[in-house]
């Protein structure tokens, strides 16, 4: 049994050996030691060489693959390294930085001082779902309302209690102080939450409110430049960088202060003022009083949103006389400034043009402007003719809405068609035509800057962006007007507007307001249109008071010489040095050739 078994085993072994020899290359791989194969050397030598070669090739291939893998990794690492080195891997820090971007861009003045910016405030929000089970409040709604009332004394506790009891989510109060938020937190009601929200804030309060406008609850700009720039302020570019206006905060503040003071002293209903750069048309200040606070728009302040400077049209009265004279000088109908016109009341087509007081039998051009004679101005305009008068007014932009970015712009009361004789005469002294104070400012800029009219703008203009404008008056006429305007302030009705050293020139205008059945003698629009310094005009200042009363401060006078002119004389010394115009009493525009024409006046 055993021998059989052995023999059978031996036979199996032989068979296995034979099989091994035949399948030698395959077995060689399973053999851990190819140097000493189980196959006899004599039979499998050349095959063995083959096996070794193949194994070597495979090993080399594998090494090559691994090398390739490593090389690939190294290249990847190098590429990544280079990428990070080049870009600085700033991709993730960008979204943190974006937290700093305001939801709405900042509006700054021409010197970069912020006028409108985003401000994050807490608001008090009632969230009944804060407590997952049970009632939304820990205490009674009435008690919680009382506690809130203790923190916010002006809160209506009954209404708040009703809101809390209703179980509906909603605002209890918008924009609360952080310390108040802490005190509300101390009440210990999880349902009272204070999410931080972005709101628009105007650090300067009501200053330049009409220029800026405000932002409504929906986040849309209203009224002023907030509305004009709405899309830009919300855009990526507008949020990243402040938007500059042509306004100068310091000038705006001075203008508002002095207009407010003038308004209070004369008990006026309202006031308006503009400061305009004569060479570029940039508006440096634009004030309409009474103003409103864009931080707090309520029912009381809503009527004040109306802009008197750009939206309301007025008959601006005698301030038009220099324009008439300039048009006549330009057209050549006045060749001699010393020529005299009779000053007796003038009868034209059932209408009598008269002066406020008697100014003698006859007047020449400088005297006409200095005393503000309607009669002589009407005669000058009559000689000029309606067509030329109208053309001058058209080229000064009096027949269209004022050119400014603000959405609220009033259309002038503009007599269309051919002007009859009487119309020409009344327009010459600022009646029968109603324009905004901004129209007047642009016209005065053209009058003194060498004769170029430019559209007014609230954009801050760079040196290359100044519009070319259009020529209205010749440079010689403009130079003559500077002398005449300076004479009005030096010796004429505008004496109260003078500020020593600032070489102010300008013209008063007191127009009666039209009412039911004619003009009302007691309600006036008092305007003073000025430019300074007259030897090289840089800025136009317009001050207008709506219905000033005669008070002790104005010596019981209502006319512009007593209320609007002093405003200018106080504004100019405040803004002049800020704008680079130093007062200097040794300089002035040369009026020596006109002085002999007004011998009596200068002695005074």
């Amino acid at each position: 049994m055993a021998s059989r078994a052995i023999s059978s085993e031996a036979a199996f072994g032989r068979m296995a050996e034979a099989a091994r020899v035949e399948n030698a290359p395959r077995l060689a791989f399973s053999n851990p030691d190819p140097v000493r194969p189980t196959v006899p050397l004599s039979t499998g030598r050349h095959r063995l060489v083959n096996v070794r070669q193949r194994a070597l090739v495979v090993a080399k291939w594998r090494a090559l693959w691994v090398l390739c893998g490593f090389a690939l990794l190294a290249i990847c690492a190098l590429v990544r390294l280079g990428f990070l080195g080049l870009t600085g891997g700033s991709s993730y820090s960008a979204d943190i930085r974006s937290l700093l971007l305001p939801a709405r861009g900042v509006i700054v003045d021409r010197n970069g001082s912020p006028l409108a910016r985003d401000f994050r405030v807490y608001s008090l929000w009632f969230n009944p779902e804060a407590m997952t089970d049970g009632p939304p409040l820990v205490g009674q709604p009435q008690e919680v309302a009382e506690k809130l009332h203790a923190i916010f004394p002006d809160l209506d506790s009954a209404e708040v209690a009703r809101k809390l009891a209703s179980g509906r989510a909603g605002y209890l109060r918008r924009s609360i102080l952080p310390e108040d938020a802490n005190r509300v937190h101390a009440i210990g009601e999880p349902a009272l939450q204070f999410p931080q929200e972005t709101s628009r804030f105007y650090p300067q309060g009501s200053m330049a409110a009409h220029v800026l406008g405000f932002v409504d609850a929906g986040g849309n700009g209203k009224v002023g430049m907030e509305q004009v720039f709405d899309a830009h302020l919300k855009s990526e570019e507008g949020r990243a960088k402040g938007t500059a206006l042509s306004i100068d905060v310091r000038v705006q503040g001075a203008l508002e202060d002095e207009l407010g003071r003038g308004m209070a002293l004369s008990n006026a209903k309202g006031a308006a003022g503009v400061v305009l750069d004569v060479d570029t048309g940039e508006v440096l200040a634009l004030a309409s009083l009474p103003s409103f606070d864009p931080n707090k728009i309520d029912r009381d302040s809503t009527p004040n949103i109306f802009n008197r400077v750009t939206n309301q049209v007025y008959e601006l009265g005698s301030t038009f006389k220099p324009i008439t004279v300039a048009a006549a000088l330009d057209a050549g109908t006045i060749t001699d400034l010393g020529r005299r016109w009779p000053a007796a009341p003038l009868h034209v087509a059932r209408f009598t043009i008269r002066d406020s007081h008697s100014m003698g039998t006859s007047l020449n051009v400088p005297e006409t402007l200095m005393h503000s004679s309607n009669v002589v101005t009407a005669q000058i305009a009559d000689e000029l003719g309606g067509a030329r008068m109208k053309k001058t007014m058209e080229s000064l932009g009096m027949n269209e809405r004022p050119r400014i970015e603000l959405p609220a712009r009033g259309f002038p009361i503009w007599p269309s068609g051919q002007w009859p004789r009487l119309r020409t005469m009344t327009v010459s002294y600022g009646h029968g035509i109603a324009v905004t104070p901004l129209h007047l400012a642009a016209a005065y800029a053209a009058l003194v800057n060498g004769g170029i009219w430019r559209p007014t703008t609230l954009h801050k203009l760079e040196a290359g962006q100044v519009p070319e404008g259009r020529r209205v008056f010749t440079a010689a006429t403009s130079a003559r007007m500077r002398q005449l305007l300076r004479m009005i302030v030096s010796y004429g009705t505008g004496r109260k507007a003078d500020a020593p050293g600032f070489r102010i020139g300008g013209k008063t205008g007191s127009a009666e307001k039209p009412g039911a059945g004619g003009y009302r003698r007691s309600s006036l629009i008092a305007t003073f249109a000025a430019a300074f310094p007259m030897d090289h005009p840089r800025y136009v200042v317009i001050a207008m008071l709506d219905e000033p009363q005669g008070t002790q401060a104005t010596s019981f006078q209502r006319t512009a010489a007593w209320n609007a002119a002093p405003v200018v004389s106080r504004v100019v010394p405040r803004i002049g040095p800020l704008l680079g115009i130093m007062p200097d009493e040794t300089r002035d525009v040369d009026i020596s050739d006109l002085k002999p024409l007004v011998p009596g006046e200068i002695k005074e």
């Binding site: 993730y92 820090s93 943190i96 930085r97 937290l99 700093l100 912020p114 910016r117 401000f119 994050r120 804030f201 650090p203 300067q204 309060g205 009501s206 200053m207 905060v249 310091r250 705006q252 503040g253 202060d257 500020a499 020593p500 050293g501 600032f502 106080r570 010394p573 405040r574 040095p577 130093m582 007062p583 200097d584 009493e585 040794t586």
Partner: protein, 181 residues
């Protein structure tokens, strides 16, 4: 298991690989740690920037033009400077120092007193502690020399010097009071 050369080689390579892997993992962790630190710092910077914006807004609001105007009306009463407060240029400035001509207003004169040596020393050491950065000399030194040159024993000069000394004392006292606050 017997260690042949190849085996040792491959084990060596594996070890090197493992060590390198461990190092790279450690480095990666370190890099990520620094990265998150940077991110956290940046976050803090952003929050601080927000706080700064908040405070700036508050400052701008408190210092807005209307507030300043009210403050000026109540406290200071400053007014716009007048024309005579400005000087046109060097020429006008020089004109102020012109030699008095007949009919010109009396120039404003300043009194000065010669200080005795030892008094100047004590006064100088207290008042004039400024040292020139170039020469290293104190400002008191020339004053002392001058005092030595004019060794006047005049009673009037002495009285003046005593007054000057008192003045220096008074000034010193005021300075101390200011410093203590």
């Amino acid at each position: 298991m017997n260690l042949t050369r190849d085996r040792v080689h491959s084990i060596g390579w594996m070890t090197v690989l493992l060590v390198c892997g461990a190092f790279s993992v450690a480095l990666m962790l370190r890099v990520n740690a620094v990265k998150s630190q940077v991110a956290a710092t940046e976050k803090r910077i952003v929050y601080l920037q927000r706080d700064i914006d908040f405070l700036q807004t508050e400052f701008q609001t408190r210092s807005n033009q209307q507030q300043l105007k009210t403050l000026n009306d109540v406290e200071f009463g400053y007014e716009a400077p007048r024309a005579e407060q400005y000087i046109e240029g060097e020429r006008q400035l020089a004109a102020l120092g012109k030699a008095p001509a007949p009919g010109a207003p009396e120039p404003i004169r300043f009194a000065s007193a010669a200080v005795a040596a030892e008094e100047a020393e004590s006064a100088g050491s207290r008042l004039l502690a400024m040292v020139s950065p170039v020469t290293g000399a104190t400002a008191a030194a020339p004053a002392r020399e001058e005092a030595e040159r004019e060794t006047s024993t005049d009673a009037e000069a002495k009285a003046l010097a005593r007054d000057a000394k008192d003045l220096s004392k008074r000034l010193a006292r005021i300075e101390l009071a200011g410093g203590a606050q």
